[in-house]
């Protein structure tokens, strides 16, 4: 009985696929989305990814190994396919960087080129990596950044970030303006870790689940 009831409840919750390309701690993103009410699956199953109303590309670590692991499992194609199909999509940290043309971290490895810019080493005299909370400077109102309060603080761990473009919706200051979030159409991406940014980060995850399930955050 309990199992059937759980299955029915799970059906009513929006299905979010967190793309599992096998390296790094990808569980945190899954736990975060589950916490805000999504039926979240960490998966490398293309069929399940195609069933999901929202797709998340998480990431920790380095650009080159992440990109190679994604390609080795053939997941690069389903990621681009879902993005081109207009499915709500969220790239996080290295998962954001992989959406760009490439990265100075390993220039011979191509990115997914959803955004045509390059990911570059942070031009700063401050310590690298940036391992700290930082305050967002919001450049453009966007649903990702709705209801974050007056001073949104998010947790960053990175040495590289995408170069500026018209898709940048928020930056942080780390010895200069650093790209913190980009968005274009159905594609959202964040350099920070919303799944590790306490209440503020959980709100962003909740904003994405709402976007993916055509609901308001209050309806989740």
């Amino acid at each position: 009985m309990a199992t059937i009831q759980q299955a029915q409840e799970a059906k009513q919750r929006p299905l979010i696929a967190v793309v599992d390309y096998g390296i790094g701690n990808l569980h945190s993103a899954q736990k975060g989305f589950s916490h805000v009410g999504a039926d979240t699956r960490l998966t490398n199953d293309c069929a399940l990814i195609r069933d999901a109303c929202g797709v998340v590309l998480p990431g920790v670590g380095a650009f080159g190994p992440a990109m190679r692991a994604l390609r080795a499992r053939g997941l690069d194609e389903v990621v681009v396919e879902r993005i081109e199909a207009g499915v709500p999509f969220f790239g996080i940290c290295v998962g954001m960087q992989m959406l760009f043309a490439g990265s100075e971290e390993e220039p011979q490895v191509r990115g997914l080129n959803v955004f045509s810019q390059m990911v570059r080493l942070l031009p700063t005299s401050l310590k690298l990596p940036q391992i700290q909370w930082n305050k967002l400077n919001i450049h453009r109102d966007h649903r990702m950044l709705a209801d974050l309060g007056d001073e949104p603080w998010l947790y960053f761990v990175h040495s590289y970030a995408p170069e500026p473009s018209e898709d940048v919706i928020a930056t942080c200051d780390y010895g200069g303006a650093v790209t913190a979030a980009v968005a274009r159409g159905n594609v959202w991406a964040a350099q920070f870790h919303p799944e590790k940014s306490s209440v503020c980060g959980l709100r962003i995850l909740s904003n994405f689940v709402a976007f993916a399930s055509h609901k308001l955050p209050s309806e989740l």
Partner: protein, 256 residues
């Protein structure tokens, strides 16, 4: 903008939080998940769990704790203590820890730092260094690395060891002064500044915090990127918010 992190440290024995004074004389201070959630709500920037469990079931209880914390608390947390191999690190990271901290095992086999860093990324590889002033020498950099919770001398120079672990791929250094730890007399500033001047990676200063002014000194005089404390937070002497106000009052940026 460099933003200083305030990190409560929770010593864990068999799934319960305790805090030793000079690593002996332990008092029980509660449940790890509840404390973690409390510190998150108070505005702690990260958490560090130091596992001091000696029993053979330690790995299972610590992994279970990591899973429980990761389900309910959404700020970064580090687990250290007793991590000897790449497999130990993998198990804790898979259970939900964001970083692992290695100490004795890294001294015994320095390449472990490189293994963890290249497998999981430098961002999750913290090297804990416990150091003491050398008894006979007053020379600059005359700090010796200790292992096994401060009981075993290594003969290693702490500044040289810090540079070595950076070269091996450590993402951060968690520096504890064994002279200052438990004294509540403040950070060991000569040790802290010797290490922060020698490396480019972030340094978390630990050991000796008794007042909020000590936190300020750790940043302004010691050059620490993050400050770690236990008893002043655990026993309600000060809240995280008070610690951050003290830092902010000296124009040190923090997350409010």
């Amino acid at each position: 903008m460099r933003v200083v992190r305030v990190i409560p440290c929770l010593d864990v024995d068999a799934g319960r939080v305790v805090k030793g004074v000079n690593f002996v004389d332990i008092r029980d201070a509660g449940d790890p998940v509840e404390l973690a959630a409390l510190y998150d709500a108070q505005g702690a920037d990260e958490l560090v769990f130091l596992d001091i469990t000696a029993s053979s079931e330690r790995r299972d209880t610590t992994e279970a704790m990591a899973r429980a914390v990761a389900e309910q608390v959404f700020i970064p947390f580090t687990i250290g203590g007793g991590i000897r191999t790449l497999e130990d690190a993998r198990a804790l990271l898979r259970a939900g820890a964001d970083k692992v901290s290695v100490n004795t095992a890294a001294v015994k086999r320095p390449v472990l730092v490189r293994e963890i860093s290249s497998e999981f990324g430098a961002q999750c590889c913290v090297v804990a260094i416990d150091a003491r002033h050398r008894a006979v020498s007053k020379d600059e950099g005359s700090f010796e690395v200790y292992t096994h919770g401060g009981r075993t001398r290594t003969g290693l120079n702490a500044v040289q060891w810090a540079c070595e672990v950076q070269r091996l791929g450590a993402g951060e250094i968690l520096l504890t002064s064994m002279d200052a730890d438990g004294t509540k007399d403040g950070f060991d500033i000569p040790l802290t500044s010797a290490i922060t001047n020698a490396v480019d990676i972030p340094v978390i200063a630990s050991g000796g915090v008794g007042t909020l002014q000590h936190l300020v000194e750790g940043v302004l005089l010691g050059g620490a990127d993050a400050i770690l404390a236990a008893s002043i937070f655990h026993f309600g002497e000060h809240t995280i918010a008070e610690a951050k106000q003290a830092l902010a009052s000296q124009d040190i940026p923090t997350r409010p």
